[in-house]
Symmetry: C2
Subunit: 144 residues, 2 copies
Amino acid sequence: MHDLIREAEALCQRAGMTLTAPRRRVLEILAASDTPMKAYDLISKAGEDGRATKPPTVYRALDFLCQLGLVHRIEQDATFVACNHAGHTQPVALFVCNSCLKATEVAYDDVAQMLESAALTRGFQLQRLVIEGRGQCQDCALAA
Amino acid sequence: MHDLIREAEALCQRAGMTLTAPRRRVLEILAASDTPMKAYDLISKAGEDGRATKPPTVYRALDFLCQLGLVHRIEQDATFVACNHAGHTQPVALFVCNSCLKATEVAYDDVAQMLESAALTRGFQLQRLVIEGRGQCQDCALAA
DNA sequence: TAATGAGTGTTATGAAATAACATAATAGGA
DNA sequence: TCCTATTATGTTATTTCATAACACTCATTA
Ligand SMILES: [Zn+2]
Ligand SMILES: [Zn+2]
Ligand SMILES: [Zn+2]
Ligand SMILES: [Zn+2]
C-alpha cells in the first residue's frame, strides 16, 4: 500500500506531473479500501484529518489519477478503484462481484485485439475501450 | 422503423408483457433518433403531443425496454439507444463515434467466451458484461 | 364484488458531476 | 530578484442524472 504510493510518485515524476496533497489523499483512501468507492464517499473523507472536502477537489483528483492509470472508473455504477498494477496504459477488464462488491482486474490484450479488428471491419477506429463484468467472485461462490 | 415497433410489440407479447403507451413513445423517439439520447432529452419529448413528461415515466419505460433488450444503455455517458436487432439477449458491444456520436452495435460471441473463461480462471462467474468503445466511425474518418 | 397485480401520475428528493471565478503556489526568464 | 506564465487549489452555486414514496387507474380473477 505504501509501495503503491511510492510507485505512484515515481510514475508522476516520469510523466512530469506532481502527486499533490489532495491527489495523494484520494489515492490513499482508494488504496486502503477493499471495494470501489463512490465519489461522494471520497468527498466525505478526503479533507484534512479525514474530514469532508468539496466535490471539485475530489473530482479533479480522480480525473488526474484516472488519466495516469492509477485509478479506474467503473462506468456501470460510477465508482472508482485504485489500480494495483501501478499505472499500466494497457486496457483492463474489471469484474465486480455482486455480493461482496470487490473488483478484480484482468488484462486482456487478446480480447482487445479481437474487438479492435471487429470494429475495424466496420470501419470503426477504436480509441478507448471499456470492459466491465458483473457476477460472483470465488470467495462468495465458496461461501454460498 | 415501424417494423421496429411491430417487432417490439411481438416480442412483448411473447414475453407476456405489454408495450404500453409511454413505453412505446419512448421507443419511438429513440428509434427515430440517429444518435443515443439522454434521459432528460426523452423526458422533454415523451409526453402527449411531444410535450414534456415526468422523469419516473421515462426511467420506468427505459428500464423496461432495456430489460427486454429493445434499448441499450451506454454506461459511459448515461445515454440510451434503440436496438436495431429487436430484442436479442446475446451481449453486444457498442462503439460510439467521438465526432458524430452515432453508435454502432456489434455482436461478439467469441469475445464474450474469451472473457468468460478469463474470468473463470480467477474463479469469477460472469453474469453480465458491458463492452463499450469510443473512437471514430468510417464516415467521419472519410470526411476528415 | 372484492381483491389482486401491473402500470401510471405526481411531488419531492437524493446522488453525481461540473461551471465559473477567485486565490495560491510554482517554475522560468529577464 | 522581480515579473510573469503556468499549474493547481479553494469556494460557491448550479446542472445533470436518477429514485423514493404514495395515490390512482384499470384489467384480471377468485
Ligand atoms: Zn489497473
Ligand atoms: Zn464476492
Ligand atoms: Zn441490440
Ligand atoms: Zn462519426
